[in-house]
């Protein structure tokens, strides 16, 4: 935060603390997502178990941030930039919490998958997730730097994720069609792919919040959309 300090030091501390918790929560989400992807692509169940356990930590951050926000509003009546810091922290924490949940869900499915997945599917998942991880990192950097242009970059990048998700979905559907035995793994993989895409959407929400925080106005216009999502495998 580049603002001059508040006259009341304890207020300044409370806002700094809120800010620090968002950053910690964001890092925890980044970590969970990274591990969830590592677990599924390297088929490492220990890592998947760790992701499932760490979700509790992320949930606790959300509760803590919510309490801090309610306290700030009740006891400090924040105005202007402080108000925006407070309100966006609340909204960001709820998107980050969902990111944590989705990473956990990926890991739960990882535990149910067979040892050997076709390489092309793993590569495809890797492509989408690398992109989403990059987006999440950029969003948290935009928050740290209080940078509206960085937030806009993330916002615009969501389109590419939609496209990569659809490609990945198509490959999973192909895999499903190949053999009835693929039904279980294929279904999990569809959900995993969708989860990664959803993480991308929540990341974009966070980026929108960062933009509002910095500029005091909302990002205008429709969110960029990639190709139409695939609803069924039938053409």
């Amino acid at each position: 935060m580049s603002e001059a300090p508040h006259t009341v030091k304890s207020y300044e501390e409370e806002l700094k603390n809120l800010n620090a918790n968002i950053i910690k929560m964001g890092s925890a989400c980044e970590d969970s997502l990274g591990k969830a992807i590592q677990a599924i692509t390297t088929r490492d169940n220990n890592i998947a178990e760790a992701v499932i356990q760490e979700d509790e930590k992320i949930d606790k951050y959300e509760t803590l941030i919510e309490q801090q926000v309610v306290n700030l509003i009740a006891l400090r009546q924040p105005m202007a930039i402080d108000l925006r810091e407070t309100v966006t922290a609340l909204k960001m924490s709820s998107d980050l919490e969902r990111i944590g949940d989705l990473a956990k869900n990926i890991s739960k499915r990882t535990l149910l998958l067979n040892e050997n997945l076709p390489k092309n599917l793993v590569d495809s998942l890797n492509r989408v997730s690398t992109n989403v991880q990059k987006q999440l990192k950029s969003t948290l950097d935009a928050y740290l730097e209080r940078s509206a242009p960085m937030a806009v970059n993330v916002w615009e990048g969501d389109e590419q994720i939609d496209d990569l998700t659809n490609l990945c979905m198509q490959e999973v559907i192909k895999y499903l069609k190949e053999n009835e035995k693929n039904l279980e793994d294929g279904t999990h993989l569809l959900f995993v792919t969708k989860n990664i895409e959803r993480i991308g959407d929540h990341t974009t929400n966070v980026a929108e919040q960062v933009y509002y925080l910095v500029k005091g106005e909302y990002l205008e216009g429709d969110r960029p959309k990639g190709t139409e999502p695939i609803v069924t495998g039938e053409k």
Binding site: V8, M79, A80, I81, D82
Partner: protein, 258 residues
């Protein structure tokens, strides 16, 4: 208030400078006050907000060393013009002060004083009506209707302030100036005055000076921020408190000043 989407301006201050002797208290203030809206003036002590408020009904005239330059147009008439009848002006522009200051007279006399000197009632009955309407508009009638002939100074602080508001509105002013009207009142009385301000803006244009940012945010539609005799920023209250343009405004309202 807007007519056909255009903001109606009640008061237009143009390049107003105020001096107390050699010391300049206000620098080049230009400010439009919207009709039938509440405008809050905020800023640290000594920033000139009360001085500006007092320019609007020429209250600074009573201070010998005070010298006001520039134009203040109310309904397009420059009140600083020599031809301005100050008594008539103050009939149009009422004022409520920080400390409730009822006259040491009965409630009835407090409210009827203005209408009497301005010859607004032809009969006792007409005067009774003015007193009743004014007290009702000031949300005081129900509490005092059975003791109109008791001294006004016997009321509680909040009731006294509402009495002063009744006294101010009894002459049907177009504009009401309020200089920290709630700073001597408890939260309940403050809420009553704030509710009253909300009602009064339907018929009057209100300008309120307040040290309470929360109060400015609650009661006003427009806010002006003064600092060291300058008007730093003026705009919709909602914009000022959510996303002010000026860094000084932001530092002040977020408690980062000095």
């Amino acid at each position: 208030m807007r007519k056909n989407g255009v903001k109606m301006i009640k008061i237009k201050a143009k390049d107003v400078d105020v001096f107390y002797g050699k010391k300049q208290a206000l620098f080049n203030i230009s400010l439009d006050i919207e009709e039938n809206q509440v405008t809050a003036l905020i800023g640290p002590s000594g920033c000139g907000k009360s001085t500006f408020l007092r320019c609007l009904n020429r209250m600074n005239d009573v201070i010998d060393i005070c010298n006001v330059k520039g134009e203040i147009l109310i309904n397009d008439f420059n009140i600083n013009d020599k031809s301005c009848d100050v008594v008539r002006l103050r009939e149009k522009i009422g004022m409520v002060f920080q400390k409730p200051n009822p006259f040491p007279k009965t409630l009835y006399e407090n409210v009827s004083y203005g209408p009497t000197i301005h010859g607004m009632a032809q009969s006792k009955q007409e005067m009774d009506e003015i007193v009743e309407t004014s007290l009702k508009k000031a949300a005081l009638w129900e509490e005092v209707k059975d003791r109109l002939h008791e001294p006004g100074t016997g009321l509680s602080g909040g009731q006294q302030q509402r009495l002063c508001i009744a006294r101010a509105i009894s002459v049907r002013p177009e504009v009401i100036l309020m200089d920290e009207p709630c700073s001597a009142l408890d939260p309940i009385a403050t809420a009553q005055i704030e509710e009253l301000i909300d009602e009064l803006k339907k018929e009057h244009t209100i300008i309120i000076v307040t040290h309470s940012m929360a109060q400015a945010a609650r009661v006003s539609q427009n806010t002006g921020f003064f600092h060291l005799g300058q008007l730093i920023e003026h705009g919709s209250t909602d914009k000022i408190f959510k996303n002010p343009d000026n860094k000084k405004t932001q530092d002040y309202i977020t408690g980062r000043f000095g």
